[in-house]
């Protein structure tokens, strides 16, 4: 009995190893079926962990863009574009090995990631390899500031934090804010810092607290916010925690507004808020309806593709990160065209001169490598219909 069990277990392990091996073989064999040369673009995104849901939506944008425009003209030749997708599993520790994997796969350029901490970790690897990377929705300034090869499409946290602080103080008329971030998260703590700075600069009071990774019970935090008489709770946290905070705020009957950063702009968060008595505002890169042609196209694609629909959270709502993923892909194609070569070095030199109109606005880079953006969309959760309603475009002033 024992021996039989051992044999069975050994067999299972052997088979699973074989399965892994087979999978990577078949991936390599896929390239170049139409006879064209192939250019590889790396996708560096979380598909698992706290940011898995957001990363998957961002990849959807890139996959859809790849479906719309599967080829590119480089130096007079037509190339097939192949996306090399790796999972950086949300955390900086795993991000490094995922980044190294992309370097090994000989990609011409990298897109991603959702999440700043993991982008910074990957940036070190890309820097060493001289591989250009285009950050999508990572918003911490350190991603591009400390790294020559990193460019970015999103707006920055100092901007985002200031926009939200201004909105809370001037538009909502709130003088006390409660801010909550996860311990050890570069993204959370960066935004907490910029929001606090801006809000206190305007004359408001900030009560700041942290929670440890893996927390599920936010009831006491909401009670602390109520005890501090806070008019808003600003929680720039990942989707997973945003859902828990919305839930706890509703259960505790928090009367003020919840403020969220770009991570909150997700149909998972709106799902949690639907039917509950909570008010929430978020800043984001794109508002559904901003480009009807893109919206209609991607919705059709999502609905025709059950896997895509699952990855989008089971519906066809267009998240801002999906739009930015779409723009990232076309920015990469522009850079490849200008470079006239698939050599990462040439692409890196070409990136600063990219200029085109994407769905999230005009895309041009400044000398640090950040997209020139001066406006953020503010949306509010419509808890009856379960959709995000557009509030206004806020420029910083």
């Amino acid at each position: 009995m024992k021996k039989l069990m051992a044999a069975v277990l050994a067999l299972v392990m052997a088979l699973s190893l074989a399965a892994c091996g087979g999978k990577s073989d078949s991936q390599d064999a896929q390239s170049g079926d139409s006879g064209n040369k192939v250019v590889k673009i790396g996708v560096f995104e979380p598909q698992t962990g706290d940011n898995g849901a957001g990363g998957k939506q961002e990849i959807l944008g890139m996959q859809y863009a790849n479906y719309v425009q599967p080829t590119v003209e480089i130096g007079g030749e037509t190339y097939d574009v192949k996306l090399e997708i790796v999972d950086n599993r949300t955390t900086p520790e795993n991000g490094k090995s995922a980044a190294a994997e992309l370097v090994n796969r000989k990609v011409s350029m990298v897109l991603g990631s959702y999440g700043s901490g993991v982008s910074m970790a990957g940036g070190e690897v890309f820097q060493e390899a001289g591989l250009p990377a285009l950050g999508t929705s990572c918003t911490n300034p350190q991603v591009t500031a400390g790294c020559d090869v990193y460019f970015r499409l999103a707006f920055l946290d100092p901007f985002q934090g200031t926009v939200l602080a201004n909105y809370a103080y001037k538009e909502l008329g709130v003088t006390t804010a409660y801010v909550l971030g996860m311990l050890g998260s570069d993204y959370d703590q960066g935004l907490v810092y910029y929001f606090t700075e801006a809000f206190e600069g305007l004359g408001g009071t900030v009560v700041a607290e942290d929670f440890p990774e893996g927390s599920a019970n936010f009831v006491s935090y909401i009670n602390n916010a109520k005890a501090a008489n806070a008019g808003v709770i600003f929680a720039p946290v990942s989707i997973n925690y945003a859902q828990l905070i919305v839930e706890a705020a509703a259960a505790q009957g928090f009367e003020g507004a919840l403020l969220g950063s770009d991570t909150w702009d997700s149909n998972k968060v709106i799902e949690s808020a639907t039917g509950k008595d909570v008010t929430s505002f978020v800043t984001t890169f794109y508002q559904e309806g901003g480009n009807p042609e893109f919206d209609a196209g991607i919705k059709e694609w999502i609905n025709a593709n059950p896997d895509a629909k699952t990855n989008n959270g089971g519906n066809d709502m267009v998240a801002a990160v999906t739009a930015i993923g779409y723009d990232a892909y076309f920015t990469a194609l522009e850079a490849l065209k200008i470079a006239g070569s698939t050599d990462p070095k040439a692409v890196l030199e070409a990136l600063p001169s990219v200029s085109f109109e994407g769905v999230t606005g005009l895309i041009e880079f400044d000398e640090i490598g950040d997209a020139k953006r001066d406006a953020a969309y503010i949306k509010t959760a419509n808890t009856e219909a379960g959709v995000w309603d557009f509030v206004k475009v806020q420029t910083v002033g």
């Binding site: 898995g52 998957k56 440890p212 019970n217 006491s220 009670n223 859902q243 009957g253 799902e271």
Partner: protein, 292 residues
């Protein structure tokens, strides 16, 4: 009073959830002298089963199904991973337990795709909001401690006044002699795992009524804290585990209420170290008498 009331209510509720998990640790330890590291993951699987079952089936089918599936999982783990090692050194069983824990987590990772699964249909009635003494909360917060105490009373009765309970006590006292006296030791151990998993499933249903998503790591923290609670109360003692769990839950929430949110987890684990240093057997722990 009005100020700290919400924290106390919440702390008692959290304590109740920990208690239901802690009993599973303490029961198994009492009989097998094994720390069942997979217990937190059994709790997580119960949550996942609940998410999947409630979306597909009506509640009166889904909830018993969650209980049955979790009990079956606990039973299977014992039969497959622990029973063949009954005569092996205790360390081997412990390592087997760690292996099972990772196996379950990774299987769940494979099934869920690593993305937290939202609880789309929470159990009605207990997930509604109520207001007690001016503090708003979910009804489950009130139900949890009551249900916990009720279940513990039933369990204590089971152990002190039934035949299987007597067998369990005998096995806990002296494993080998109990076997010689004709007690079917395997049945007793299976029963222990069945009870432990059942309580974890109940705990899981209450826990995930409060929190809207089940991640594969969801079992980690509650499991770890319940383990601390069990050690705090004296591992092997059921009342100890329950009292320990309520104390841990209350302290944790009150620390958050006092404004030291950053340290709420650090505090829990500091308690563990202090207890182990000062009173190695915990609050209600059995005194170790050396058999010369």
């Amino acid at each position: 009073m009005q100020q700290i009331l919400p924290y106390i209510i919440n702390g008692i509720s959290v304590g109740g959830q920990y208690a239901l998990i802690a009993i599973g640790y303490t029961l198994v330890y009492g009989i097998l002298r094994l720390i069942n590291f997979a217990h937190g993951d059994v709790f997580m699987v119960a949550g996942l089963v609940m998410v999947y079952a409630t979306t597909a089936l009506p509640f009166y089918v889904a909830l018993p199904l969650v209980l049955a599936a979790t009990v079956l999982l606990g039973f299977t783990i014992e039969r497959v991973a622990y029973k063949p090692l009954r005569t092996a050194p205790r360390m081997s069983v412990m390592i087997s337990a760690i292996g099972v824990s990772y196996l379950i987590q990774n299987l769940a990772f494979y099934i869920t795709g690593g993305v937290p699964q939202p609880v789309t249909r929470p159990i009605p009635w207990i997930s509604e909001n109520v207001i007690i003494l001016g503090a708003s909360t979910k009804r489950v917060t009130l139900v949890t401690p009551i249900l916990t105490i009720l279940l513990v009373v039933v369990l204590v009765y089971l152990i002190n006044h039934t035949k299987i309970g007597m067998a369990m006590r005998a096995a806990a006292k002296d494993f080998e002699t109990a076997q010689l006296m004709g007690i079917k030791i395997n049945a007793v151990i299976s029963m222990t795992f069945v009870i432990g998993s059942f309580l974890a499933a109940v705990g899981s249903m209450l826990y995930f009524t409060n929190y809207p998503s089940v991640a594969i790591t969801s079992g980690g923290m509650p499991g770890l804290k319940a383990f601390v609670a069990a050690v705090f109360g004296g591992i092997g003692s059921i009342p100890g585990a329950v009292v320990g769990a309520f104390i841990i839950g209350l302290c944790e929430e009150l620390i958050k209420g006092a404004g030291y949110t950053t340290f709420s987890d650090a505090f829990t684990f500091a308690i563990l170290i202090v207890v182990l240093c000062v009173k190695p057997t915990g609050l209600f722990g059995e005194k170790v008498t050396d058999k010369v």
